[in-house]
């Protein structure tokens, strides 16, 4: 195999470089010729190969599956989390979305809750802390009854799935002017609270996850940028659902239901 199938375009890459969490950052500019069939991250791979050849350290950026499902990748492209194409993670974005002569500004996800590690890589571990605080159903291995013992209405299951489709990339937080974590948190709460299996811990889970979220992230003021940036198009309805459940959790007399 040799050659390429696409058209070659010349773009100017303006990319954020930062040596470490406490170093000062700066923009670097590099010209790059690239086939329109390449993915955005393959364009960065190629740029890194050139940098390495010239004795410059490659740009640190994260990616893994490159199929839009693992949630590892994610950068700001021309000011938008995951770039210009709707419902598309950075790794699924292709260069045919750009034109010859374009300047492309690449920055890390920016949020107080996501400190920069190096260049375009950020620390998103607060998302794990939110899950740890209640994003599960308590069932030990081996304790489960037959899967068909509890029918789950198809609609509930489908809606739970819509929430569970979240890939945990953090684009919602990067896109939000307040760096709020509502869309991510509500997706996980919605997934579990909509299912019969999730009812036993519903109120405790909601309270705990929302309050953990608030330790790391800003407040939601209903801009909706999160859902717009979400590569899985998670709906704002889940935020409303979470807010209702949080309110209910706060006003319920939970001593009687055993969910303190």
């Amino acid at each position: 195999m040799s050659g390429t199938t696409g058209e070659i375009i010349n773009v100017t890459i303006k990319v954020w470089r930062q040596d470490g969490p406490n170093s000062e950052g700066r923009f670097e500019t590099h010209p790059q010729a690239i086939t329109t069939d390449a993915s955005f991250l393959e364009m960065l791979d190629l740029l890194n190969e050139h940098l390495n050849d010239q004795g410059h350290e490659p740009i640190a950026f994260e990616s893994d599956c490159r199929e839009g499902i693992c949630g590892t990748c994610g950068v700001m492209i021309n000011g938008r989390a995951h770039g210009p194409q709707k419902a598309t993670a950075t790794c699924q974005l292709h260069m045919r979305e750009f034109a010859d002569g374009d300047e492309i500004v690449i920055e890390p996800f920016r949020a107080a809750g996501f400190p920069i590690i190096r260049d375009l890589a950020v620390d998103r571990s607060p998302l794990d802390r939110i899950i740890e605080s209640g994003g599960y159903i308590t069932v030990n291995t081996g304790a489960a009854s037959d899967a068909n013992l509890t029918p789950v209405p198809k609609e509930a299951s489908d809606q739970a799935f819509d929430a569970a489709a979240c890939i945990g990339c953090g684009a919602c937080i990067a896109a939000c002017p307040n760096s709020a974590g509502q869309l991510f948190t509500s997706a996980k709460i919605g997934h579990l609270n909509l299912l019969p299996q999730g009812q036993a811990e519903r109120w405790k889970r909601t309270e705990s996850m929302v309050e953990t979220m608030e330790e790391f992230f800003g407040s939601c003021t209903n801009h909706g940028e999160c859902s717009e940036a979400c590569p899985k198009e998670i709906s704002l309805d889940f935020i409303a659902f979470m807010n209702r459940d949080y309110l209910k959790a706060k006003v319920k007399n939970r001593a009687l239901t055993g969910q303190k």
């Binding site: 390429t4 190969e49 949630g71 590892t72 620390d123 794990d128 890939i167």
Partner: protein, 640 residues
């Protein structure tokens, strides 16, 4: 029997082995479990489920992932589904049938006892995952839905849209995070295993590098579990994630663990062909597309007309022609090999002539656009995003790509390697799929090992160690291992050659793909055994790794992984060379039937080849574990 490879298969009837074994194993009582420390490396389906379950049981677990979060592991990308012998569809499925299909699908190169146990616990996995909130597909009555998958005549595949792996991993990850919160599991993220440490022949810990700070740290435990996935990225281009690698398994191999059947690799027939020289990975298009798509190439060679301009009479629907009974639904290995044949003969399509057509026009004409969109809409969209072509209007172009590796660390029935206290689970071991894995069986095996097998068998190994403290990390075995890693890192940074790690990885991948790919032959394999070490030598002399070892340095991370791929690749070539038969994913040109099908040699090769590392520059030793088939009759597969 070779003392290195005692499989420890329990005696008795196949259906009673696991039950009897569970009863005869030593137990660790609940209050003693907290006295044991267990290291689990990897947090995909196998690792996360194992770490969570061991934590629930009361062991003190340290879980390691080199990702930023356990949820990123590549199990997440599995699309199709997970098999289980539930027989909810009442179509004649049973534990025995799942067992039978898996042994046959593996082309009679797997261990009967392990596969039977896998089929037995498959039903518990569905229960467990459902209780965790995994949103499997359901019918309108609220009960679980099933579909059929390749290699089976029953519907036993549970699925969650096209994201079954993602949903199962989120389930296992949430169980893991619950144990992290409970304090039974200590989670180390962005920590990559760089060495396995043994003392007096017993695994006693690992050495990791913190990928952010660069710090190299020893960790000790009573047992070490590797759940570190497969090695498909040895081909450079594969459907694996960018970071998937063989390093953990390989470094265990260098510490004495046998590596079994490295030449058994699975090439998936329906992936999007590469579009340029610096393509970083290949994307899988679900196998389900072959239910409605027709595969063809032009009759003529180097035909550059567009698909629409090629009349029906000038098209070769080669699978339908050669396999009238199965047509486009032949198993993965058969479909892949045939695509390679027609492309090699010059019939390839697309700008680089490196694909075959998968054409939906007949299905669209028959069922309507809406019906096809309903079934495959998300896949069609993904295809269009990647290629810029609309598959509703023009046929998809597909070509096979490396997808899964059946080979891996040799383990006994308890999933322990030949190194005492070192276990391997999930794709990292070799045990259940023989020479070919059936669709929807990888998720099943990962979770079976992690939830339901290892948590039992590891107790048997630990019981005898009660009262022993783990080897302290101040012991010379640890300090030497740490010093070794630091030395190696310094060497990479000091090499200061001219080419990047990726450059050499790509070159290695070309050799492996050309010679140890879909079809292998003696001359090519001998060539690979020569070419790989030559390129490896150049790699070590001429690679350029910039930056420092004290920060996030992705080139440095890759340098070590690619070094291990070089050594593995050489072993794959040797293994393929010595297996003078064709079976499953291992097809030798010299061993085929008159019709061009894989020809096994059961008399001489019904065994596992388990390789022993003898040090750099010394040939490895090939050990054999004989396979016996008491419950499934060996037969030649035919799909005509």
């Amino acid at each position: 029997m070779n003392p290195l490879i005692n499989a420890k298969i329990p005696a008795g009837d196949i259906a009673e082995k696991w039950e009897n074994h569970k009863f005869s194993m030593n137990l660790v009582n609940p209050s003693n479990k907290r006295k044991f420390e267990i290291i689990v490396v990897g947090t995909g389906l196998a690792g996360a489920s194992a770490a969570a379950t061991l934590g629930e049981l009361g062991y003190r677990v340290k879980a390691f992932t080199f990702h930023d979060s356990p949820r990123r592991a590549h199990s997440i990308a599995a699309q199709g589904g997970i098999n289980a012998a539930k027989n909810y569809t009442n179509d004649g499925d049973s534990v025995h049938r799942l067992f039978y299909d898996t042994v046959k699908g593996g082309d009679y190169r797997s261990r009967e006892a392990n596969v039977h146990r896998l089929a037995e616990v498959s039903v518990n996995i569905i229960d467990q995952a459902t209780a965790q909130g995994v949103p499997f597909a359901r019918d309108y009555g609220g009960l679980l839905d099933n579909r059929s998958f390749g290699g089976a005549q029953v519907s036993r595949t549970f699925y969650a849209r096209g994201q079954t792996g993602q949903q199962l991993l989120i389930g296992a990850y949430s169980a893991l995070m619950r144990q992290v919160a409970a304090g039974t599991v200590e989670l180390h993220s962005r920590a990559e295993l760089l060495d396995v440490v043994t003392k007096d022949g017993q695994a006693c810990g690992i050495v990791t590098r913190d990928l952010v700070s660069g710090e190299v740290t020893p960790h000790s435990a009573h047992a070490v579990v590797l759940a570190t996935g497969g090695y498909g990225n040895v081909y450079f281009l594969s459907t694996n994630a960018m970071m998937c690698n063989v390093t953990a398994a390989w470094r265990a191999h260098r510490k004495g663990a046998l590596f079994a059947n490295p030449c058994y690799t699975q090439i998936h027939p329906t992936c999007i062909p590469a579009s340029d020289d610096f393509q970083s990975k290949l994307t899988l298009m679900s196998e389900s597309l072959r239910n409605d798509g027709r595969i063809w190439v032009p009759n003529g060679k180097a035909d550059s007309r567009s698909a629409a301009d090629i009349p029906e009479t000038e098209r070769d629907y080669y699978l339908e022609r050669k396999y009238p009974a199965f047509g486009n639904l032949v198993p993965r290995d058969v479909a892949s090999r045939n695509a390679k044949t027609v492309v090699d003969e010059g019939h390839g399509v697309g700008p680089l002539a490196n694909g075959v057509y998968l054409d939906f026009s007949a299905a669209i004409a028959r069922d309507g656009l809406d019906a096809i969109s309903e079934k495959y809409g998300n896949l069609f969209d993904m295809y269009q995003r990647i290629t810029g072509e609309n598959p509703y209007q023009t046929p998809m172009r597909i070509y096979p790509a490396t997808h899964y590796t059946m080979g891996g660390l040799w383990v006994d029935y308890n999933l322990m390697t030949n190194v005492e206290g070192l276990y391997a689970i999930g794709e990292a071991n070799f045990s259940d799929h023989g020479a070919n894995r059936l669709g929807a069986s990888a998720l099943m095996q990962g979770l079976a090992d992690g939830y339901f097998v290892l948590p039992y068998t590891i107790g048997d190994g630990l019981a005898g160690q009660l009262g022993n403290d783990p080897v302290p990390t101040s012991d010379p075995v640890f300090t030497q291992a740490v010093a070794g890693i630091n030395d190696t890192n310094r060497r990479w940074l000091a090499t200061n050659g001219t080419k990047s790690v990726d450059h050499y990885h790509r070159e290695l991948g070309r050799i492996v793909w050309d010679n140890i790919g879909m079809a292998r032959n003696k001359a090519g394999l001998q060539q690979a055994v020569t070419d790989i070490p030559a390129l490896k030598e150049e790699y070590h002399k001429n690679v350029r790794v910039l930056g420092s070892a004290d920060t996030l340095n992705q080139s440095l991370e890759k340098a070590g992984r690619v070094a291990d791929f070089f050594e593995l690749a050489e072993l794959m070539a040797r293994d393929a060379l010595q297996r003078e038969e064709s079976c499953g994913g291992h097809f030798r040109d010299e061993y085929q039937t008159a019709e061009g099908e894989a020809q096994r040699d059961d008399e001489n090769f019904a065994h596992v080849a388990a390789w022993e590392w003898n040090g750099e520059g010394t040939d490895p030793t090939r050990h054999q574990e004989e396979l016996t088939f008491d419950n499934v009759a060996l037969s030649q597969r035919s799909y005509k």
